[in-house]
Amino acid sequence: MSRESALVSADWVEEHKNDANVVLIEVDEDVSAYDAGHIAGAIKLDWKDDLQDQVRRDFVNKAQFEALLSERGVSSDDTVVLYGGNNNWFAAYAYWYFKLYGHSDVRLLDGGRKRWELDSRELTDEVVKREATQYQAKEQDKSIRAFRDEVEEAIGVKNLVDVRSPDEYAGRLLAPAHLPQEQAQRAGHIPTAASIPWSKAANDDGTFRSDDELKTLYADAGVDFGKDTIAYCRIGERSAHSWFVLHEILGQPNVKNYDGSWTEWGSLVGVPVALGDEPGKA
């Protein structure tokens, strides 16, 4: 993967607006943003109601994902272009999700909603309804998803990257201030994890920083590009954004997102936890 294959520009989206095989999808933390205005032709996915199982703590399974996308009118061979607010935070999560189920052609709109709005490009509240399809998903690609046992084995062996804010990393906060729900029993971080807040990967306008800036960001924080990497945050969304940077833009092999993240780790019995601003020892 590379920047060229994973990202599209706003101009690219305008040029392909009449292309029936290009499906624009908005995914936002603020799920009401789409209704107030979206890019013409875009449909919406709700990161919680659509993409998470409503009983177990897990994603929708393959059959549910197929039913969802069939109903929304997305085909397996469509080019899916995702965008959203807040530096594409939740759009990047959805991108990882599409990859998890093997969708072959997925892109992110660089800069997302913010860059689009700052450029004064058009938004519409027109309701979009696509013809239903027969979407075929693949089995989950576990090469990009990490589970807790694998994370424990990675302590002191692989790169662990904690992409939450410095206060969450140090154990001074359990969640971003505006998201009080979904908390773990204990605060802190996984020992040896480097602290690289996800938002550092984006410029002020929401576009991704250059490859050189991104490499420097991770290398300076202690990431060894010769090793495998597991990224985590609190519930796996911000770390999907960092996974996107490492795996899709920088083309690093063997990068996984630990979607159990801190809400799982910080509630597990018998696992090590480090407090404070330093990574801690294995």
Partner: protein, 98 residues
Amino acid sequence: MCGAKKGGLDLKGVDIDKEAVIQGQVLRGEEPVGGAYVRLLDSTGEFTAEVPTSATGHFRFFAAPGSWTLRTLAPKAEPVDRQVVAQYGEVAEVAVAV
């Protein structure tokens, strides 16, 4: 509860003794700018939070006491930086001209 400053956001329900509030309005000339983005940067310049402005150009942060920078990005304008000091018991009102 003290009333909001004229033209500012209503402070009903906000305990300003416990919150270091930074709020204000983004204006182009006399016109409020809705849909601009205001970023809160800490004293080292690190990004802390971002909010879009309301239709009336207003924004609000619940910060910690200290020095902050507000960086405003609006359509058809260069980014504007404004320094602001937040403290408990006082609302820092900032008008940003773009």
